[in-house]
């Protein structure tokens, strides 16, 4: 099975920092920032980008649909 590498882009201003993506990432890629966005929310970012496999689980569960996922099969 080809290994895949992935990356996500979070729409920072729309992220509400709910952490649902964080707990649903199979490879523990995501964390919330310490800083807050314009709405006062700590937003999601890739803390361990290299672990991302582009499975889109995070995007699929994100209630606000603010995650875009990219994937490259290696």
């Amino acid at each position: 099975m080809a290994k895949a590498r992935g990356a996500i882009v979070v729409d920072i201003e729309k992220c509400k920092g709910c952490e649902v993506c964080v707990v649903n990432c199979p490879t523990n890629v995501i964390r919330l920032t310490r800083e807050v966005n314009g709405k006062g929310y700590h937003y999601a970012y890739m803390e361990v980008p290299e672990a991302c496999i582009g499975c889109a689980n995070c995007a699929v569960v994100c209630p606000d649909g603010v995650i875009t996922v990219y994937q490259v099969k290696e």
Binding site: R5, G6, A7, V9, K14, K16, G17, C18, E19, V20, V22, V23, N24, K39, Y41, M46, P49, G54, C55, A56, N57, A59, V60, V61, C62, P63, D64, G65, V66, I67, T68, V69, Y70, Q71, V72, E74
Partner: protein
């Protein structure tokens, strides 16, 4: 490999459907409504039926669904979405019509409209967001609130002896000859989101084939109403709501699923 090399248009595997508007959703962080909205819009996009779809959202947190779903919509009075959808569908039998209703809406004030639209077998899809509470009005007890569960109108927990039992509307409507597809799903985990999305697809395909009513319950969380963090709420839901409202198909192709 560098992130820049991955984040390229040709590598895109998931992005928000354009059938969701760019408005920031008015829901609380982590609310199931957002996910449910998105997958409905994804299916409509995938089926290419935006111009043939009419949605009906009654009062509840999702009353503003029309701000987020980029389709024609009618906002309905509390509990009356199935009647409004009936009015639409009867006049436009070739369009796709769905309602999107909360548990207070569908299972309390709207009980008669729900039962009768199901019983008549209106050829529509009903999406039923069961978060066990009245989210919009500030967390009051819903007909689906679990025994012992606290809410602003059951501050000491739901006492079934005086407040009645939580009602399983999905089980009830599955009994009616007019329903063709009845299922109970969730959207708190990727696998559930994918299953629910598939259910929505089945429902709309059924509608195309004039099969009758499809009813999709989505067991949901309302972290604000439950006074938990979103993640806690999802765990609580899994541990408490789902055992009471078990996931799975109740009726497929007009036949009750044997347990």
């Amino acid at each position: 490999m560098n992130l820049k090399d991955i984040i390229k248009p040709e590598n895109l595997v998931y992005s928000k459907t354009p059938l969701l508007t760019d408005n920031v959703m008015s829901y609380c962080p982590g609310c199931s409504h957002g996910t449910a909205h998105r997958i409905i819009m994804e299916v409509i996009e995938e089926m290419g039926i935006q111009s043939e779809t009419i949605g009906v959202a009654p009062v509840g947190c999702s009353v503003l669904a029309y701000d987020f779903m980029n389709i024609d919509m009618a906002q309905a009075a509390h509990g009356r979405a199935p009647a409004v959808a009936t009015g639409i569908k009867r006049c436009w039998p070739e369009k796709y019509v769905f309602t999107y209703q909360g548990d207070g809406d569908l299972a309390a004030i709207g009980t008669a409209e729900t039962i009768h639209a199901c019983n008549r077998g209106e050829n529509i899809m009903i999406v039923f967001i069961n978060n066990g509470i009245y989210g919009m009005t500030g967390g009051q007890m819903a007909p689906t609130t679990l025994p012992g569960m606290k809410s602003s109108t059951s501050p000491f927990g739901r006492d079934v002896a005086t407040m009645g039992n939580p009602i399983k509307m999905t089980d009830l409507v599955a009994q009616l000859p007019g329903t063709y597809y009845v299922t109970r799903q969730a959207v708190h985990k990727p696998v559930n989101v994918r299953r629910t999305k598939k259910a929505i697809r089945i429902a709309l395909e059924n509608q195309k084939l004039n099969k009758g009513l499809s009813f999709i319950e989505i067991v949901s969380s309302c972290n604000s109403g439950w006074k938990m963090t979103p993640v806690q709420a999802n765990i609580w839901m899994e541990e408490n709501m789902i055992p009471f409202y078990p996931l799975g198909d109740l009726k497929v192709d007009g036949e009750l699923v044997k347990k």
